[in-house]
Symmetry: D2
Subunit: 480 residues, 4 copies
């Protein structure tokens, strides 16, 4: 089969009839026609179609080592620097169609699965670990071009230090409650699965400090598995039009709580279970961080490019480029963009092979990159608002341009370089990027991507190898 | 008549039938029943009702010097420190009902008009100035408890330095195009009138650098004056419910472009016209800045108090108060609140009388306050998001709590100190404060209130009396 | 005796012959003639002289309730708002002579002692507490105009959480090792006593979390008490001249480690001992914070005024006032100054009486003020450097202006509004303020005044009464 | 001759007997023995010696294409990526000996000259330009391993916009006043030449906006040229010892005003003159920015590594690593370091050839890097102070450890992991890095390296190619 197109993806999702709840009701009929999901499924389908576009097919696919068919580059296990570069170009090709706004474009999750299979060395020979399940499932996914979401965060019941112990008494987070001949049985919840309910599969795992081995597992199951429910947050895209909500209407992915109501995970889909040590190290010590963040930073670069373009277009439109403070604000975006690009390039230039022979982007620049972006993104979004000023509030709808006041609008809302409607279109785009519920959710998403910024800082402090530099200072002190 | 109640206000607005356009259509029927305005008109009506609440009537009203009736304290021309304090208490009493989120609660505009009448010394004896019109109109407004909006910013056609000259060739900003026996005739547009179309009157004036005297005027006219149109931006409150949008559904004020289609302003409503010098000094040199900002800062303090309450309630709910970085973030809000309170108290403690015998809050603390808040408010809103984290995304709707998944929600969304629905209610409030279109418009509003932050900084540099301090340093240098 | 003059102060200090060590040797002879102390003793003496200056004597002194003599206002126990204002005016009068750069001008410590005596309610009736010693010593100090330093921080041996327990095994911090008929005997060290060794007396106490009651004490002893040693840090003022180091040469106060080599504190000088609860609450719950910080903020305002003056004088001298970014930087100082002034005024306006009938400045604004200044001061110092730019490096000495190159200097270092020597004088002043060892120690001093900024933030979080605001939000949530 | 050693360098400088003035007198005798220069000349000599150290000779030198002798790598004109890497390794090898604190280690200026010769395409065929002089001089410099300083900034007489015009009337900046058969004659001053007077040669040029062609020139002359004077700022290293001032005593380079008292520059040393267009483009459009900044960022990386080492050593010493805010602060340094490293690596990875066939590091990352460092360096220096806290004030001198109080110091100043003297040694190092006159001059130097940060931001705004990104947004807007 190999790399699919948009129609195959859409049909497959429609046929699953996964249990998805939104705004008080269960989704019935084709989910690709539901107002909350129509836009994003179309956008996702468009991405799959691009795998078959002649001019970029060489970037978007490679030859399956098993079948000889063309499969998606996001499944490529990198062995050389040109593999890494190819992965970057692929990710950015996709990201450019959505301005980097889709966190669950297929490359993200495919990279996650690829990183998992690149980390089988951590599973090999350990108790309750099945690296062979992982490898076999990866191949199945690659050849069928499965789509995915994932979930791993526990519900926000109590965030105090050592809260986990507290949750043992109020079992809320999903855990293994039974093992039987069919597989392991899961009960509880996880949050938040972005695009939950509109992918073929969901990968589930737990991270960090489980004190109880029933929380230590990883697996993948189809979205329509019995007992699996996706409880969506409020949709932001229902009733949105392209002109008024150019981004929301196309890229709103939704996020859902995932409920496991005694869900049986068949053994062949279990990657590991009941192994705290492996659960604590699989993502942190394996290929995950490095490969997944390489995809993420590739996308974030495209997002920043888009934001720089929007910023400059606003400046051109209302003609503010001569102000030094405007220059300084736009420069801040440029500096941010160049910084993220440098992290990406440096991570490739300094890539090293792991024990499985996989070439992993250097962790330091890419991890610093993700931490930097958590603070950078809210700032560039703030700059867009500072540049747009009253133009971000003064947003009539498309209907207004068809009403009896259109002449007034055309006269009074024109800008130096754009007619009124084109100018409002630009400002609505900027508004949707920064100030709509979709836009603010984007900002929150980037703020917390990969964890709380404070926790990431601490983790950098703890894991960074500072010893050679401390030693250098000690030698310096001894010298005189 | 004196201080009105909510019903009088609502009836009067409904009877005006001003020309208000929204989402492609003109508002027909009672505007107080229109989904875009119903909520805010109810909230506004509630404010008027408070003028008659026994326990606070002494704060909310005072005795008219003309009629002996009780009139609104927001019209009080302050002569003593206790007058200033009474004005502050009145403003905060009102603000507490809406968490300081209504920028056009009646006290704001009533204070503007009061500040205008306290500045008649600037008009006295000058060409084309009518201080007597202003005084007489003020008395009429006070005795009838008129509601107001105002507008003074020119459309954002070209923001380059000296752009104004450019606009002369593309007349867009509202200007006087004719003077006749009835009055002055205005053509052009102004933006943005918050609550435009749902007030009795609109005060119109121009500020800053008019090179052409046809832009130099000030007046007030009824909202239903012939030729006057209010073109609203997209409404954020249509189709919102109390649970899902606790703030938007009640406090969304809308903002409109105001179009003057050959509007005649009767002479008795003209405060001045064709006088560039007066136009340039009336608001900047008169009582306006000091009195209006005293009301504004009073409201902003209440807004910060509300934000501190929300922040702490989130911390309590998910039990994060032991983290030092959480403590530091909440402290930042405390510091912000105490800073704004100090500006307010200091402005009263150091108040001085102007030439009209009006006691004006000291300009330095109050102006510094407004400038501080422009940067502070976006930061506290950011802190709420950092504290709320995934809880700000995980927002099901009220309908979800009535659907077949309610048991799942009740189990998995409960928090340490709140049941699931109460917890979601809190987070939806926080979301509506920071991340809904209403919330982001609030942030933009505060960012630019009183002008671009950079411009306010420059203005502080230029107007602040630094000479005595420079002299002190010069003496210090001479001493040794 | 009452308020003394500079000569009395200097003679008294010289006669003490306290044990002061600096740069490898013990100070011999008159300490007022030692190059490390001459400047600051002269500056301090000048302050005492000002108590007798006719034009300000009314501010600087008041009538002793015991003797009827004029005593220093810094000893005044405030009972009315005009007392508070008088204290502020006194502190600022003194601060202006040294640009607010002397942290141990007599008013600071006199206020500390005054605050202690205003807190006797905390000692009354408690074990091992002697409020009567404190009162009697305060009166003696006031009538004789004693000069003071104090010390309370333990050596920085180990700063980990619970480090205190660690120190029990390596006794380093000063503690009571014996009680006998003469008094309590102290052994160990404290740091850092600013002006240690050049004051009549030293007040010693411990703060925060003593787990061992031998660390829980407070007392005052003469600087020349047997066994008491002051180990000074490197002096920055030795070999400095007025032109080259206008600030260092006059205001360098030095800081010393204080060693107690079995020092006996006579019983009449012991305020309390062996009482952990009192030690933990005396300064935090008493009048200390509020009264001491009122003096401190008064001084900091003067310091900011001086910095604003220097900033503006640099701008004038090299003519950079037209740049918007320069305007914004100077505005930042203005905003900082107005903020600190507002805290000060607000703390007086909202002062309340304690159980002893002492009128205490409101704690919230004054504590927020000190916390604000910790971050503000380093920033304004940074701004001076950004404004001065290469002028801060290009600093020839006074001797250069007398050498054969003086014509070159006069030609090439002249500025728009100053001749070369006057310009260099200004820039050397700015350099001494920001970049000399004296200047950087000032910055560090203000950064940590009253404790680590992070700890102050946490303390604000813990102690601020947020409950009414949380309740308000809870009511708001219940309303709809 | 080729790459020299330290003795050759020192002897050559001593023999020059350049006219250097400091603290009111002219330097007489061997300048390498003068207290203001001894330390830095020793450190510089040590660098030259390293060129002959066997283990790194391959990095530090390459074979001269003319003589076959080993010449310094800092003269290498890069043609391949491994050339660029070799240049980086060489620069960092040198920088590690001085913690990156020497801005004028020989590689900086040698790189500048190399960049000049790599930019001869800009001179070719233009009026009054002599690319052949430049090439010939470069070869002479390389083969003799000349040491250099440079100067290009005009005196800070008046910094207002268009101030240059003002200076025409008060000729202060160095200009060509005569052309004769010997060469061009220069009169006026330039500032600041770091290491001015202790190098073989000085390169002089002018930048930016000369309206008068007499300011448009570039040349190099020996430091002892007749009429050339170096007027040094106050020395920070006189009377410093290694223990008390570990950095100042070794790396203080001094900065001087350079006076041209009718200095004749022989024609063969003139690179160009009387050509405004070339003067405006030679450094900005040529290889200068890219090659020079590659050396600079290489050095800055080493500086940050040192600062990270110092920070961590302080944390270890006083045992504060468990505090989350300490972790966050150290992480900030790590992030800064990784960011600068990424810029450096990315600039090499994306290097491109110029018209002369020279491989130039990519300009965007390297220019962003320098702009980032301007803000980063003051912050990391601030962090060191925040981490060191009172330890940065509590700094006795080496003599104290030899005096009768040494037992007290040894007891009371010990730290968790270091004895008292070793701990004071560390804190004095940190103090010298951040708070001594040497340290603060370092901070100012980095703040303004390559120009005012605001100007660099504007320059980035103006020169960055934003068009493709704006076009992408325009296409995005057209799509729907």
């Amino acid at each position: 089969m190999g790399a699919i197109n948009g129609k195959t993806y859409t049909d497959r999702i429609d046929q699953l009839k996964s249990e998805v709840w939104i705004d008080g009701g269960r989704v019935e009929g084709k989910i690709s026609e539901h107002p909350a999901f129509r836009g994003v499924i179309e956008s996702q389908a468009h991405l799959y179609d691009l795998q078959h576009k002649t001019s970029i097919k060489k970037i978007m696919t490679y030859t399956s080592p098993i079948t000889g068919e063309k499969v998606g580059t996001s499944f490529l296990i990198p062995k050389t620097k040109s593999d890494l570069k190819k992965r970057r170009l692929m990710a950015q090709e996709w990201a450019r169609t959505n301005a980097g706004l889709m966190g669950r474009s297929p490359d993200y999750m495919n990279t996650v699965l690829t990183a998992f299979v690149a980390s089988t060395d951590i599973l090999e020979g350990n108790e309750n670990c099945f690296p062979e399940h992982l490898l076999s499932f990866y191949e199945q996914a690659r050849e069928n071009d499965f789509s995915f979401t994932h979930t791993f965060i526990n519900p926000q019941f109590n965030r105090a230090p050592l809260h986990f112990l507290d949750e043992f008494q109020h079992p809320i987070a999903a855990k293994v409650i039974e093992k039987n001949s069919d597989g392991i049985v899961i009960k509880g919840a996880k949050l938040l699965a972005t695009q939950g309910g509109i992918t073929d599969e969901i990968i589930v795992y737990s991270t960090a400090n489980p004190f109880d081995k029933s929380y230590a597992y990883a697996f993948s199951i189809p979205s329509n598995t019995k007992g699996l429910k996706f409880l969506c947050r409020q949709s932001f895209s229902s009733d949105t039009t392209r002109f008024d909500y150019p981004l929301t209407s196309r890229f709103e992915e939704n996020d859902s709580i995932v409920v496991f109501d005694n869900v049986t995970v068949p053994w062949e889909r279990v990657f590991y279970y009941d192994n705290i040590q492996v659960a604590n190290s699989f993502t942190s010590k394996g290929a995950f961080t490095s490969l997944a963040l390489h995809q993420v930073v590739s996308r974030q670069v495209v997002k920043l490019e888009f934001i720089l373009g929007v910023a400059q277009l606003i400046v051109d439109t209302i003609n503010t480029g001569e102000y030094q403070h405007v220059q300084e604000k736009v420069s801040e975006i440029i500096i941010g963009l160049e910084t993220m690009k440098a992290f990406l390039i440096a991570s490739e230039a300094e890539a090293t092979k792991n024990r499985n022979g996989v070439l992993l982007p250097a962790i330091n620049p890419i991890y610093t990159g993700i931490n930097t972006f958590q603070r950078l993104y809210p700032r560039v979004v703030e700059i867009i608002q500072l540049l747009g000023a009253s133009g971000m509030i003064n947003i009539p709808t498309e209907k207004d341009f068809e009403a009896n006041i259109k002449n007034d609008l055309n006269l009074y809302l024109q800008a130096k370089t754009k007619d009124a409607k084109a100018r409002v279109k630009l400002f609505r785009l900027a508004w949707d990027l920064c100030m709509s519920p979709f836009g603010t959710r984007q900002t929150l998403y980037e703020r917390f991507f990969f964890g709380d910024p404070v926790r990431l800082s601490s983790s950098l402090f703890i894991n960074y190898n500072k010893k050679p530099l401390v030693d250098r200072v000690e030698r310096f002190l001894e010298e005189y």
